[in-house]
Structures are given as structure tokens and as C-alpha cells.
Assembly symmetry: C2
Homo-oligomer: 201 residues x 2
């Protein structure tokens, strides 16, 4: 029999390594893309060894990437849900969302952009599993916006089209902001999206 502290430590260590690998891979893929991130780099920065990586992910690099993208997708869903809930008016909520994205992007030195875009674009030719994970993440995000709009009385078709537009526009604005190292594209896009939403009132 072991103490509760030992159990906690053991459990934390057992599940901890796998989580460290996923979180580290997610951050690296977000910054360097899928192809640009090596398995050995992931292992090193996650304070794990190659053996551990292949122990938890027998599927190799692709399996690590899929888990990392799913993690990033869920993480951004949390952010999105929170940001959308910050205001009752959907136009205000979306604009607030863009502003927070801009602030976090600047805080990261313009490096931590959309966690799925980079991986998605690189693997469009093949790698179906990765692209699938990206598509699923995008669908989840759109669903969050759609539900917010439905809750505010938008018609079903309008809510669907606007959700697609909002997620897409934020994504594009984030890329533009990263390339130009400026918060403005995101702030401007947030303003215009708010105007678009208000035009339905």
C-alpha cells in the first residue's frame, strides 16, 4: 500500500508525461507548423524521451499531431465560449472576441496564431487524419458562434452563414495581424463584423 501523496505523484507522472507531450506538440505545431516540428524537438521540450513519445503514440508523428490539434481545438473552444458570453449583444461579443485575440497575439510576440490553420494548410495533399481533426475543430467553433446567434433570435440560415463568416474572417484577420505584426487587422475586422451583425437587427 502506498500513501495518497505517492499515488497522486505516480498518477500525475503517468498521465503527466503524455499530457506534456500533447501540450508541447500543440504549441510547437502552432508556431512552426506540422512539417517544421520534429518528433525529437517535441520530446526534448516536453522533457520526455523518444521512447516515451512512441510508447504513448505508437502511430508516430501523425498521431501526436492529431492529439495536439484536438487539444488546441478544445482549448480555443473554451476561449471562444467565454469570449462570446462576455456580452449579451452578439455584435459586442464578437468584437470583444477579436480584441482579445489581438491582445493575446501581441503578447505572444505575434507567434501564437490559429492552432489549426498552419497544420491544415500543410497537410491538405495527404495526411487525412490531421486534416480531419482540423475540420472538426473549425466545425466546433462555428457551432459555438451559431448557437450564440440562435440564442439572440437570429434566423437559422442567417446564423449559419454568419457563423461561417465570423470564424473565417477572424482566422484571416489573425494571419494578417501576424504577418504585419499589428493588432489592427483583428480590431478592424472585429468592428466590421459587429456592423455586419447589427445590420440584421
Amino acid at each position: 500500500m502506498q500513501t495518497a501523496a505517492e499515488t497522486a505523484a505516480t498518477t500525475a507522472s503517468r498521465t503527466g508525461t503524455r499530457d506534456r507531450i500533447v501540450v508541447t506538440a500543440a504549441r510547437l505545431i502552432q508556431r512552426q507548423g506540422y512539417v517544421g516540428t520534429g518528433i525529437k524537438q517535441i520530446a526534448q521540450e516536453a522533457r520526455a524521451t523518444l521512447g516515451s513519445v512512441y510508447h504513448f503514440f505508437p502511430g508516430g508523428k501523425e498521431a501526436v499531431a492529431v492529439a495536439a490539434i484536438e487539444h488546441s481545438g478544445a482549448e480555443f473552444s473554451v476561449f471562444l465560449r467565454e469570449a462570446l458570453g462576455s456580452a449579451q449583444d452578439p455584435a459586442e461579443a464578437v468584437e470583444h472576441c477579436a480584441v482579445r485575440l489581438a491582445e493575446e497575439l501581441r503578447a505572444s510576440g505575434w507567434v501564437d496564431g490559429c492552432p489549426v490553420t498552419a497544420a491544415a494548410l500543410e497537410t491538405l495533399g495527404g495526411e487525412t487524419r490531421i486534416q480531419q481533426a482540423c475540420a472538426e475543430a473549425l466545425r466546433d467553433w462555428e457551432a459555438l458562434v451559431r448557437e450564440k446567434l440562435l440564442g439572440c433570435g437570429f434566423a437559422a440560415d442567417d446564423a449559419r452563414e454568419l457563423a461561417t463568416t465570423v470564424i473565417g474572417a477572424l482566422e484571416g484577420a489573425e494571419v494578417t495581424a501576424q504577418v504585419n505584426r499589428s493588432e489592427e487587422p483583428l480590431r478592424v475586422t472585429g468592428r466590421q463584423l459587429a456592423r455586419l451583425l447589427r445590420s440584421y437587427a
Copy 2:
């Protein structure tokens, strides 16, 4: 002295090899990204040898990529100018632009997306030259939209903000369309952008 035909052939071959390298690199980077595209693959698909590549581009892979991105940027500028000129009404013009992007994307098997996004996202950490070329391309495209809007009587500030929004939204919609293998994100975004523009009338 050589014949005119020989001169033409020689000239075509001399400048032709360099152009083939640039065009091939542009297409490959567009589809596979900067990191995912190898110098040897570029040489092979451009029907050139490694020696030729390094002869024309002593700067190596980065120099080839910069030339390729500049080429892609200029090419898309031509497309954009033509699409924006297809209708006098800016809302119609932008929507037409989105539709044509959707059609061409489907025709390419959802593979030929934005020629600069992929390269830009991969090289944000370092590689200043490449990022610079991407930023310049984006700026050119925004300028084309802005001038179109200015020509249609929009106020300067509105035209600037809308140009940023339009280019960003189209970019994001293109990525969404690629990941989902569907024209709808682009068509929907085109519609909503048109609505946004009309709200200024």
C-alpha cells in the same frame, strides 16, 4: 552570327529556366508550404538541375521562396484587379471575386489555396525575408480593394477598414473551404461581405 530563331531559342532557354524554377516553386509552396517543399523537388519538377537552381539563386532555398512568393503575389494581383473590375458595384464585385475563388479552388481539387498564407505561417519565427514578401503581397491586395472602394465614393477610413476586412475574410474563407472541401464558405463569405459593403450606402 546566329539566326533570329537561334537567338530567340537561346534567350527563351536562358530566362526560361529561371522562370520555370520560380513558377514551379510557387506552385509547390502554395500546396505544400515552405518547409515541406524541397530544393531537389523544385529542380526536378521544373526540369532543371540543382546546379541551375543555385546558379540563378545563390541565396539558396530562401531566395527561391522569396522570388516564388513575389511571383504568386503579383499573379493574384492580376486576378484580383480583373475580378474587382467585373462589376461597377463594389458589393457585386467582391462577391464575384469570392465565387471565382471558390470555382478555381474546387477545380484544383481544393489544393491551390492562398499562395502566401502557408509560407507566411511557417516562417513567422525567423526567416524575415519570406515574411516580408508575404506582407508586401497582402498590402498590395488590400490596396487594390481600397482603391476600388475609393473609386466608388467610400470615405477613406471606411475604404481602408473594409479592404482589410475583405482580404482577411477571403483568406480565412479560402482556408475553411480547403479544409472542408466545399465551395460554401467562400460563397457565404462573399454574400456577407457584399451585405456589409451595401450597409455603407
